[in-house]
């Protein structure tokens, strides 16, 4: 026993090195679980506060873009209002209800191989892990973890983010996943070969999983490839959200999510 302790003492640098590296590996592995309330991420108070203040500075330089986005948002809302007046629930089919919670983006990366956003809004605003995040242009990501006032969001530009979508023209179910190459291109998966997929087809969310409402834009097909041996198309889409300028987003809060989930669990 004494010899063992002596040995460990003589090799203490290496032992500490090994111990710390094991802790690091454990941290990496445990962070890769999809949702967690980990304090070691950008939604914790210290790092979020510093991010907020540095974003406050850079927001001044983005005021023009923010204004333009707001104008666009107003136009879309106006259009939706008009449409609602025209066909006010004439069929009486119950639809899922959700509300959106606006939030400012205080940190956003898009050039890394795994990208996250940090938003100003957390549990106190009703934002919880697992909720979908959209902007006026389309799908942005999904909440990974939330503290009281901040939340960390998986960007669409994260390889673990897979969005259930449909080809709008043919109503075909498919999935969209980022392939780490460029910040405006993702790949479109599981479109079977009998579907006549064309460049320019719009891909929208399916709305099947209470994360995103149906018919939110994901992107537009930009490249289609089909070899003879393939069961599914190999296609790329151009994402509709411009991740390089994203001053604010909306978190989708489903009021009936628990009910849907419990029915589906039966």
């Amino acid at each position: 026993m004494r010899k063992l302790l002596d040995f460990l003492y003589r090799r203490r640098t290496f032992a500490i090195f090994l111990g710390l590296e094991i802790v690091c590996v454990w941290l990496i592995v445990s962070f890769n679980q999809r949702q967690n309330a980990d304090f070691l991420n950008s939604s914790n108070a210290l790092s979020a506060r510093i991010s907020t203040s540095s974003q406050n500075v850079s927001d001044y330089f983005d005021l023009i873009e923010i204004n333009q986005q707001l104008m666009l948002e107003n136009e879309q809302l106006q259009a939706r209002l008009n449409a609602n007046i025209a066909y006010a629930d004439s069929l009486g089919i119950p639809s899922e209800t959700y509300r959106v919670q606006g939030a400012r983006v205080i940190n956003n990366t898009f050039r890394r191989s795994t990208n996250f956003l940090t938003i100003l809004g957390g549990r106190e605003q009703g934002i919880f892990p697992g909720m979908g995040v959209i902007s006026t242009a389309g799908v942005v990501g999904q909440v990974k973890s939330a503290s009281n006032r901040y939340a960390t969001v998986y960007s669409m530009l994260h390889p673990q983010m897979i969005v259930s979508s449909t080809v709008k023209r043919t109503n075909t179910n498919c999935s969209v996943q980022w392939d780490q190459e460029s910040y405006d291109v993702a790949s479109l998966k599981f479109v079977p070969r009998h579907i006549g997929l064309k460049e320019g087809d719009t891909i929208v969310t399916s709305g099947f999983n209470s994360v995103f409402p149906p018919n939110i834009n994901v992107g537009v097909v930009s490249e289609v490839n089909l070899e003879d041996h393939m069961t599914f198309y190999d296609a790329k889409i151009k994402l509709s959200v411009d991740f390089t300028s994203l001053p604010s987003v909306f978190v989708v809060v489903y009021e009936t999510k628990w009910e849907k989930d419990s029915v589906e669990a039966l």
């Binding site: 500490i16 090195f17 710390l20 690091c24 980990d38 510093i50 050039r111 191989s113």
Partner: protein, 171 residues
């Protein structure tokens, strides 16, 4: 043997580490070069420090950076690795480590500084990008990203060191 220059260490800490945190992943050159110049603070810690302390310092510095970049463990792991090989590497590239305490461009000369710091920065960046990427996928992209980022960080570290360390008076 010289005494540890506290002023220099504190300036290093503020200029390289504290300034880095708010601008992590926010400054990008040529679309893919990120600066992680906080590693400069760690590799310029005094040479006399026990290696165990260096490892622990590297771990916590990396962990703080991780909090800002949503990568728990990645920066910390890379820093611990760099801190482990730091003193061994310094003894290889610098001939005379007998009187060495403060590591800067005067005490180990400019060539020594380049030989010492650049490979360590490169290794640090390589580990980070490799783990973050999750393998050798998109290899060319990964290597150019690593080399450009390491060059970028190294230049910042060198320039800041040049500004912080007072020039020797002519005798």
């Amino acid at each position: 043997m010289n005494r540890v220059n506290i002023r220099e260490q504190v300036s290093n800490f503020i200029a390289l580490f504290v300034i880095q945190l708010p601008m992590l992943y926010r400054i990008t050159l040529l679309d893919r070069a990120f600066g992680f110049f906080y590693i400069g603070f760690l590799i310029l810690l005094p040479f006399r420090l026990s290696r165990s302390y260096l490892l622990v310092a590297g771990f916590f510095a990396g962990l703080i950076v991780d909090m800002f970049s949503n990568t728990p463990g990645i920066h910390a792991g890379a820093c611990v690795f760099v801190m482990y090989i730091r003193d061994l590497w310094l003894k290889i590239v610098v001939d005379d480590t007998e009187d060495l305490t403060n590591i800067n461009y005067i005490s180990i000369k400019k060539t020594g500084f380049i030989l010492y710091a650049f490979p360590l920065v490169l290794v640090h960046h390589l580990v980070i990008f490799l783990v973050e990427n999750g393998g050798l996928y998109l290899f060319v992209n990964l290597i150019t990203k690593t080399i450009l980022s390491a060059l970028f960080s190294f230049i910042i570290i060198f320039v800041l060191n040049y500004l912080i360390v007072p020039k020797p008076r002519r005798q």
